[in-house]
Amino acid sequence: MERIYLDHAAATPLRPEVVTVMDEACRRFPGNPSSLHRWGREARSALEDARAKTAAAIGVEAGTVHFVRGGTESINLAILGRVDRVRALGASTPVLVRSALEHPAVREAMEAAENTGCVVQELPVSPEGDVDFPRSLSTVSQLPALVSVQWVNQETGMVLAIARVAERCLELGVPLHVDAVQAAGRIDVRVDRVPVAFLSISGHKLGGPRSTGVLVASEDAQIDPRIFGGGQEGGLRPGTVDVAGAVGFARALEISVERLDEESARLSRLRSKLEAGLLGALPGLRVHASEARRAPHILSIGVDDLARDLLPAALDLAGIGVSAGSACRSGSLGVSPVMRALYGDIAGRIAPVRLSLGWSSTEKDVDEAIRRIPPVIESMRNAGPPSGSEPSR
């Protein structure tokens, strides 16, 4: 059975061009980029070249780009590094603000901060993707240390109205962190157009290497490091930098941005086809974030009255790789805060599935998915409800 990979929002295969430049970097730059000798210089030059390319791709100064180990680290650094700084500046109970839809990396980093005495405030998001910002913020007596809002929601593909959030933060003089992990390479995230203090991007969502990412921190953004030892990455992220990883990351981001228009049009078309195909075969299917602008790579659907934890398993057994919202460490599927926000009390009755496309997705993948998914759902429905409904004992 041919396998169909529809989980590019989780990880995207490495682009061949990325493999090429990384392979070359591994062989050509054996030195430590912090060393003063020739080998160090060569590695450093490759690293700085990667930084410059990354900066150019998102419209920022090279000095603001810090290479880190992936999106989660980038997000944690922004949030917790910011908390450390405002504490050092004398704030006793820093206030952190986030949207209701944030990824666990944001949510849990803020929870960790909460455990040390910070106050966390959640902003609702409208079905259209507007963050209910001004009204909620007026209830906070003290200006937030940081506002963190994602650009694209990881479960539904909803594009949040970041420009408006950024504008509001600018007015208030509050630094904004944007989690652009699902957005970069899928929509335009050039921050010369949208002023943000911090931006997080992950490499493996772009066809880049795993465990790579950047934290963009604008020059006037005040933040402290979370780990210590060596002054690498402007002192913000000490530790020997993975040159090949940075080179691969930069190449992946560069390609994604270069091809953004055509690729986004191609994925939108594939997504529309997938959506129409599934809706045609499965009446009553719920399509998430349909009232909002959506990033082109995610189709998030909800199937009523089907066991939440069985649908991705059944699709896996049919050779189709998808995700069902966020899994916890055990792999068991709870009702995610995103689905809770979307459906409220009935969230538990709806099986969410996230189908996500990427650079390697083809028309054939989509056709095959349309052919295979509906029968899987049908046969699950035909299996009927659990037979254990007789009274216990």
């Binding site: 066991a307 939440r308 934890d309 069985l310 398993a313 059944a314 896996d316 057994l317 460490r329 055990s330 792999g331 068991s332 599927l333 709870g334 046969s379 699950m380 299996a383 009927g384 409800p385 659990p386 037979s387 254990g388 216990s392 004992r393």
Partner: protein, 372 residues
């Protein structure tokens, strides 16, 4: 698998222990398409202390490790809600009634196997399997029967009397014919990560074995089962106070306090008066017991007058008994009086090696004490 048997898609419940790990491995060896699943019965996040029991996070991760090693898919089924309603609530209410429940039986009877079968059906599986030490064979009358595992020390058929009988045609117990030591050895030779994992004895949702503490979190603070009551001697004399009957089990000797002229055992718990009745060892024996709501794995349940063998606790041998009545529950008369027949515990009824069915012990009639 004999060549005549066809390749099946089989869902295996993998707890993360060595037994279910090997059960999965044997089915893979047999050429089946094996799907592994761990049932998450409670949230390890909320559990106090280590979560080293079968259903905790460690178990899930071990099961996944083994599944990855075997090259089979592994999924986690969240049965927390059903488990809490069917098993945990029952566990609490039984203790609150002064009985000693057997939650593993309750889980097997009403939750685990049914749920597994249903989920298996949804996932297109023809059969389900577990790592129980029990066998399924064709009975003399042509139907299917559950038999004791070949390893009598490990036999787990006692826990299976409440299984819905319609399940048997789809059920596999790959370890039924094996000895435990062979299971470990085979698991080692297959390099299963769980090969040397110690046995879990705890009840999965009471991780530290602290029943009393668990009940305190589940019952209202002022529940009679948690309030002090009289410790009454079988002679009628009040000889002390106990801190709440919820912690007591018939047959128990420890925890009664000392200073008595003879060793005393719990004979009976009277929830309505909150009394715990104690007495000497020779009063601990019962001649009869009443088994409530029996379930049968045979189409011809025993009738009054029939001789059967009955096992009244895990790891006890079965003993001969005679059916004295079947109306309003199953009443059995033991051939020899039995020690500590405990209300709430299971009575599993056998004919030779074959498990016929069973039920919960509702009450026991004390044997006349013969002269010492």
């Amino acid at each position: 698998m004999s060549p005549a048997e066809h390749r099946k898609r089989i869902l295996v419940a993998m707890s993360g222990g060595v037994d279910s790990s090997l059960a999965a491995a044997l089915l893979v060896e047999g050429g089946h398409e094996v799907v592994g699943a761990t049932m998450k019965t409670f949230c390890y996040k909320d559990a106090p202390g280590p979560t080293r029991t079968c259903c905790g996070l460690d178990g899930i991760l071990d099961a996944r490790r083994v599944a990855d090693h075997l090259g089979i898919p592994h999924y986690v089924f969240d049965v927390e809600e059903e488990f809490s309603a069917d098993v945990v609530d029952d566990f609490v209410s039984e203790y609150a009634r002064g009985r000693t429940p057997n939650p593993c039986v309750q889980c097997n009877s009403n939750t685990k196997f049914r749920d597994l079968l249903h989920r298996g059906r949804v996932l297109g599986c023809e059969g389900i399997a577990t790592g129980h030490y029990a066998r399924i064979e064709i009975a003399p009358n042509g139907g299917l029967a559950i038999l004791r595992g070949r390893d009598h020390d490990k036999d787990q058929s006692y826990f299976l009397w409440g299984l819905p009988s319609d399940l048997l045609p789809r059920l596999h117990f790959p370890l039924g014919g094996l000895q435990k030591r062979d299971v470990r050895q085979k698991a080692r030779s297959l390099m299963l990560a769980t090969a040397d994992k110690p046995e879990s004895q705890e009840i999965c949702f009471v991780p530290l074995g602290d029943y009393r503490g668990f009940l305190e979190t589940r019952l209202p603070q002022e529940h009679p089962a948690l309030l002090p009551g009289d410790l009454v001697h079988s002679s009628g004399e009040v000889i002390g106070e106990h801190p709440g009957f919820a912690g007591f089990t018939v047959g128990q000797r420890k925890g009664l306090g000392g200073g008595f002229s003879e060793p005393l055992y719990v004979l009976e718990i009277r929830p309505e008066s909150r009394e715990v009745v104690v007495g000497p060892f020779d009063q601990l024996f019962s001649s009869h017991m009443l088994v409530e709501e029996p379930r049968w794995l045979t189409s011809v349940p025993p009738q009054p007058g029939d001789s059967v063998r009955v096992q009244i606790r895990h790891r006890s041998p079965d003993v001969p008994a005679r059916v004295s009545r079947t109306a309003g529950g199953l009443e059995l008369e033991f051939e020899e009086p039995q020690r500590a027949v405990t209300p709430g515990q299971s009575a599993a009824i056998y004919l030779g090696e074959r498990l016929l069915g069973g039920g919960r012990i509702a009450s026991a009639r004390r044997a006349k004490v013969t002269a010492q």
